[in-house]
Symmetry: C2
Subunit: 443 residues, 2 copies
């Protein structure tokens, strides 16, 4: 039996860890739905040439083909590496059947053959939400997405977070106003400022002179939690119509965000570039405080031209939560846990095997009232059955006496009380496993 | 923009169809958890030689390799074609960290390059539940699985169903008792009896004589909803220790199932073979009444030797619900629908754009009380905003008057009433979209 080894970059959780992930996913789903987003799923594969048409040639894409396939149809398909490209295809394919603006969320695995490292996987779970319009999509949706991100991380309750907002037009207009030709080259350098700091200056294109570089670096260092970023940009003395447009959009987004989001979580950060080509306006990154080195755990932005069918273009704005990345840090640092490791609330003890049919009936009755029940795997001595429950962290053990009466033991406290099968309920906090926050509870 | 066409065999649902699927998945998850099963997920890929080692050579497996990979590492991985093989690997890999008997469920996509047809896809969603023991696993778990299946289809409430149970040892022992060498060949033929009926007789191996064939066909035709199958088998006059063992197990399973499952849903059906090699005892198939041609929508069985690490063997028993297959028939025949096509319950009308910030605050407050809210995409005339809600099937439109008072309109009835943002709730039935049964409601 060879090959029973983990594959690097393809994480799998133990049942208890998966319970944490399930709670996280439940919060994401609930938040998306409270904000009016509909769930969809797209197939795992796309035609290779469709996946690669948006300048993604350097992505480590996984090709898919039947092992028994002819040589001729090799590598026509590939696993998607994000949800945005498949979603744009879904919108074009179903445009006639969707209502616009269309709000959708999508929680699925994606695959990239990158070199695995902490928080970066080859198979990873993303949770995306986008609003897509037909023809036009007002900028107030860009602000709505900030409120969505704020609501997600407030509800997840996994620590402090900062949402950093920028607008591609600001940098693009600023660089053009400086007379720079290779604005993409400048953006690529600035994109690394979180990682290498001031050394990005050395990576600016050759055409950039000292004075220009000073202004580029000054722009990238502007971070404000209020609307003062506008003044500070204008004080740099660069002018361009696209810069004005970008600043007006960023001001509108920040104004709404500051008014509606919890205080201090939203920051205008003029260094945010986002690597992907398709963003055309607002861009977002979200950092968990204390885990900045992990990078952004929720990123996205506005794309005006991702999807087009010749007749219509479909501008959109959205974000993607890096669920696997969040899970990596939650589990490593014990930030989130669950109140117990199994769904089971009650173990029905079995006195002897002849009693099992009766226990099955009782289990069925308790389940019909929403209580998760397991019938004991064996009619071992009661002490052994209690130990079984204890090992699995099942909080209650149920005993049916010979006279037909019932008792329930809370094996944490040892308390054992009479119980009526028709009415007994566990305390609300014990009904299902819940997310817990070990650090908070200790402090 | 070429290639914006569906891929045959890779289904994608529209948002309303996906809502139906979500409700189905919620029921599956809830039922599994009520029965004490823990969720896990395994990675989408396995090493090719691991996937193929269990006699699955004729499966149309999809190989996966990085497009930029060297020739040397081509096709080392493949997409899993079921959940059983990856689960057996997961158990071996994590055996030291799991409690046995280990109860897990797993709801994931799987991939097979079969020729697509109605209800058979190349990418499909399966929902598996298995109980796996270390060293041993008593037969009463085989009965528990029948109760799980019955509970699933009762809760799904998508029509009448029949769970057909058999035991591999019965057929194997019976054929051996008849002196047949190629028992696997007989089983392969009998496996087709649902599709081609009595013509399976012609497909029996050459060694089978007329008298043997008579008995084989007689065995395969025994179907009873009580325990009388035992007498009827014994009346055929064939004897073998394995036959006795199989009948005893099947009787025990049927006895428990008849006692605890709703009346008439469980059938001992001695024709059930199940194609896969790894089943060694009890086998299950489940049919939706009226959709027998669709084949089984929930199948499984007992496997004594699927996983082994040299020191221990891990016998298991479980089932797999073919979610995509169920969805195919539900959607085609309009058996299940949802009460509305979007999660949104309330659209906040916007009088003019200056009011949007206020609407965002109101939306946030309603969401904090569990109500799904969308702020109107534009400050168009109210009639147009109501039409927007109507097209998206959002049941309520909320108006904030100039004097600061609020009204809510139920756009289905036209009723418009005063509402207090701090306390207003929709009727319970309107809070979230729910599964509906158009046929039932019409009858």
């Amino acid at each position: 039996m060879s090959r029973i080894t983990p594959l690097t970059g393809f994480p799998e959780w133990l049942p208890r860890e998966r319970l944490v992930e399930q709670q996280i996913l439940d919060v994401l789903r609930e938040t998306f739905e409270l904000h009016g987003f509909s769930s969809i799923e797209t197939r795992a594969v796309e035609p290779v040439d469709f996946l690669l048409r948006k300048g993604e040639i350097d992505k480590e894409v996984y090709g898919v083909r039947r092992i028994q396939a002819d040589e001729s149809d090799a590598d026509q398909m590939a696993l998607h590496f994000d949800m945005t490209v498949p979603f744009s295809r879904y919108v074009l394919e179903n445009a006639g059947k969707l209502e616009f603006p269309f709000r959708r969320y999508q929680i699925q695995k994606a695959w990239r053959g990158e070199r695995p490292q902490f928080g970066r996987f080859r198979e990873f779970l993303q949770a995306d939400a986008d609003i897509i319009g037909r023809g036009e999509l007002p900028t107030h949706f860009d602000a709505e997405v900030v409120l969505l991100i704020a609501d997600i991380f407030s509800r997840l309750d996994i620590g402090s977070f900062v949402i950093r907002v920028n607008n591609r037009k600001v940098a693009e207009g600023f660089y053009r106003g400086l007379g720079i030709a290779d604005t993409a080259g400048v953006l690529r350098a600035i994109d690394k400022i979180d990682k290498i700091g001031d050394r990005v200056r050395e990576q600016l294109p050759d055409e950039v002179g000292d004075e220009q570089a000073d202004k580029i670096m000054a722009l990238a260092k502007i971070r404000t939690s209020d609307l003062s970023f506008g003044e500070r940009v204008r004080a740099l003395g660069v002018e361009h119509p696209l810069l004005d447009e970008g600043l007006a959009e960023l001001e509108a987004v920040m104004q709404t965000a500051i008014a509606a989001a919890p205080q201090g979580v939203v920051l205008a950060d003029l260094s945010i570039a986002r690597g992907l080509d398709y963003y055309t306006g607002t861009v977002y990154e979200t950092n968990l405080e204390g885990f900045e080195s992990l990078g952004s755990v929720c990123s996205g932005g506005r794309y005006d031209e991702l999807a087009s069918d010749g007749k219509n273009t479909y501008p959109g704005v959205g974000v993607s939560v890096g669920v696997s990345r969040v899970m990596a840090v939650l589990l490593r640092d014990g930030i989130a846990d669950v109140t117990r490791g199994v769904p089971t609330c009650v173990l029905l003890a079995v006195g002897d095997e002849a009693q099992r049919a009766e226990s099955n009936a009782l289990a069925s009755s308790l389940r019909s009232r929403g209580i998760s029940v397991e019938v004991s795997p064996s009619a071992a001595k009661f002490g052994k059955q209690i130990k079984y429950a204890d090992r699995r962290q099942i909080p209650f053990v149920w005993f049916t006496q010979d006279d037909g009466t019932h008792q329930v033991k809370d094996i944490r406290s040892g308390d054992q009380v009479d119980a009526d099968p028709a009415t007994w309920m566990p305390p609300e906090a014990d009904l299902r496993p819940r997310l817990s926050h070990p650090h908070k509870e200790n402090s």
